[in-house]
Amino acid sequence: MSRTLPFEQPITELMQRVRELRVVADGDARYAGELRRLEDKVSKLARELFEELTPWQRVQLSRHPRRPYFGDYLERLFDEFVELHGDRLYGDDAAIVGGFARYPRGPTGRSVMVIGHQKGRGTKEAVRRNFAMPNPEGYRKARRLMDLADRFRLPVLTFIDTPGAFPGIGAEERGQSEAIGQCLLTMSQLRVPVIATVVGEGGSGGALALGVANRVLALEHVWYSVISPEACASILWKDASQAERAADVLKPTAQMALELGAVDHVVEEPPGGAHHDWDGTARRLDYALREALAALDGLGEQELVDDRYRRFRRLGAVHA
């Protein structure tokens, strides 16, 4: 996969040009105003261009090889992360990472449980993480950690970024369906605040297994739907290469999920997308997470369960 997608080429080039100018100007005060104007202009242009993105282009951005992954947010937003391994039944799945952490950073931080799909950067690491496609062990680990969080009253923050649960022989033998179903059940009954954020790919049941939250956030350029555009295309037209066309009918974007109520808040990404500015993306997400967590403060245990129940109970399009 190329590091720059064709449609982002002009923006990427302009941003690169401005960065170069900044180096040349070398802090010279005479050019500061001009540079700032130029940057604003590029940002505005990027925003305009990105507002017009097609669903398929957003899907491509969600999979951008330089897009920040769960671990990159973990580093930037949390303190004292202690990873916890294993499902206590069979193994440890590197496609899902979880553990204790303090959130937010600084004096107001409190202990939370953080769990997310983890993609690997580079071929070796990507393979080790199975491209963030969990096996049942991953979901059973997640469920174990959620249960742990429930017993010690730790808020649960999840990060969703998976093409889907792994479709393999072993996964079926070890009960992929049951593992996901149990995750949904456990999550729906947690007596603590739960916030889920879709940071990349929200691939169907394998994504939702970490998504039964009181508040569901999504970054601006993600996909979240019942099926991937490729799989949708292969069902509709027996041709996975028609994914672009499938994305048009499936509308798997954050914006559509927001419209239909499946997502509560879309977090705007920096100009050009999250991959241009990891720190900036993390800052924006931090702000949204704090706000979401604060909104759930003061809710009692049963109120949190009921709030989550109502949130999902009303989702659907039904003519009575």
Partner: protein
Amino acid sequence: MAWNERVRPETDASEKRSAGKGVFRKCDGCGETLLAEVLENNFEVCPSCGAHHRLRHDGWRRLILDRGELVEWDRHLEPADPLQFSDGRGYRERIASAQKATGATEAIEIGRGHIDGLAIGWGAFHFTFMGGSMGSVDGEKIARLFERATAESLPVVLLQASGGARMQEGILSLMQMAKTVAALGRLREAGLPFISVCLHPTTGGVAASFALLGDVNMAEPKALVGFAGPRVIESTIRQTLPEGFQRAEFLLEHGMIDRVVPRTSMRAEIATILRHLRR
């Protein structure tokens, strides 16, 4: 797996009427030519080899429920078209033709019936309605089934036959997985039993939500039950799948279901289990 991904069951020729205009039918298991009437009277189970052919939902009612009687709930709920989905043929059009072909309003029926005199909450998927796919209406009905059973202190018996979540409603179909399982959670908290019966096939979003969360999970012989469809797995791992993979017997062997139950003893088994769980 989406609803219209083709599953080629070994046991599904119930709609293929052979020559003689429905007088004779050929068994998919042993190939024997049978009187159609004989097969129908035997709830689509071959009297020679025991192969199970697809049984329509009215047949299931007759098989399981006392006098075949069901007081149906919420039949009036009908699907909307939240995405204005069209793949050349619009979603509304597909719904209309499925309704016409099946006489059902949606892919699941719910209601109240009795088994051996014990009142139960009942749900049954119609696989012939868009592959039994779970859209908003189906999710809503299943949630209502669990909620109403909780309120009326009824055990729930749910028969699944579904390709999974319905693609045409996009993310809203996905959300039905969370909604239905959350409602199941309420039934469990109330201490009421959930008997899950997996028919052929039970896959995708239905398998990965409530179908394998029964207090007792059963499946019909040879029913395909799994998360990913066989075609998807084959194309991912580029291997031919082993014989019997994802069939009921495979799930039993791997500890995912309690029992493989032939249709002929299904009613008696459910009745016995419900008696054991009666408080």
